[in-house]
Symmetry: C2
Subunit: 190 residues, 2 copies
């Protein structure tokens, strides 16, 4: 029994993110995951060493994508104000496109085993430092701890997206989040 694109694996990752976001890591069984991609539970072990490793890979993937996207945006915009806007729009686009990933991302890190968790944290920290560096260029007099905290808080604001079930259409929501986040971030610098 072969899949056309050859990516049962990718399908599992996608389904896992969705299910973990909706019901929480511990409440999703291996059998649930198998069923979601049209196989039985144990088939999963042909693709991943175990349930926790699967979660780790989901989180690793998210963190890497965010960091890579951030790096690209920063590189593409020499002016820090432009870079900041690009970071904001990029993060918002990601959050709107992949609410499940965003949800899992800050909810389930706790269930990842020690070693991959360290790596994920490193990536998350690197992503955050990108923001801090850009922000520091815009607000040179504000102490770094303040900037770091402000960026953290901004992530909280942006990642609230999945909880705001569609009262607004995508574009208005994106615009609203952009405005709020940008003003909040700049207000943080005194």
């Amino acid at each position: 029994m072969r899949t056309r694109g050859g990516d049962r694996r990718a399908a599992i990752l996608r389904a896992a993110a969705e299910l973990f976001a909706a019901r929480g890591f511990r409440s999703v069984s291996i059998e649930d995951l198998g069923r979601a991609v049209g196989t039985t539970g144990p088939a999963l072990y042909r693709h991943f060493p175990g349930k926790e490793a699967l979660l780790a890979e989901v989180l690793l993937d998210i963190s890497e994508r965010l960091l890579r996207q951030g790096t690209e945006h920063v590189a593409a915009h020499p002016d820090p104000n432009d870079a900041l806007d690009a970071l904001l729009r990029g993060h918002i686009a990601f959050a709107l496109a992949e609410p499940a990933l965003i949800t899992v991302h800050d909810r389930e890190l706790l269930h990842v085993p020690e070693e991959p968790r360290r790596k994920i944290r490193r990536l998350q920290r690197a992503y955050l430092e990108q923001w801090v560096d850009v922000l520091a260029a815009v607000r040179p007099t504000t102490p770094t701890p303040v900037l770091r905290t402000a960026v953290h808080a901004t992530f909280g604001l942006l990642n609230s997206t999945p909880h705001s079930a569609g009262e607004l259409d995508r574009d208005h929501l994106a615009e609203l989040l952009f405005t709020m986040a940008r003003t909040a971030l700049l207000a943080a610098g005194k």
Copy 2:
């Protein structure tokens, strides 16, 4: 074996919030909860009908406290600008004082059984509507769905507190959050 204050029950609720916040509902066993308050696991059943009911009570308590506090603040400030500031400061104080409660509050609702969940949601919605009403008085021309979403996003910002491990001291953090949230909220109204 009697407890002096007679509140084994309250101790369990406190410990549960702490443990659920740190490790997640499903990862905390009845035995863990018992041990945390100096008894064995099953003793818990003398105070709560079960683990889910215990979680429900924790969340109910939080939601009620936030709503009550909000009501008081709104009642105490006829001017909507003052009321908004009071709501902000109140929420921030709560989040800083009880990071565990805040964490559990928006992470574990999913594990609460149907019936209490409805009640908790109603309280959360009522709390949110308090903010929306006050904000609407300050920004009369902004459509309600925008205000609602903005308040949601602001909660995301404020509740990020537990994740910002102490880079800043309490007072600076509170002030920073206040400034960011206030500007974001007001910027939302065009």
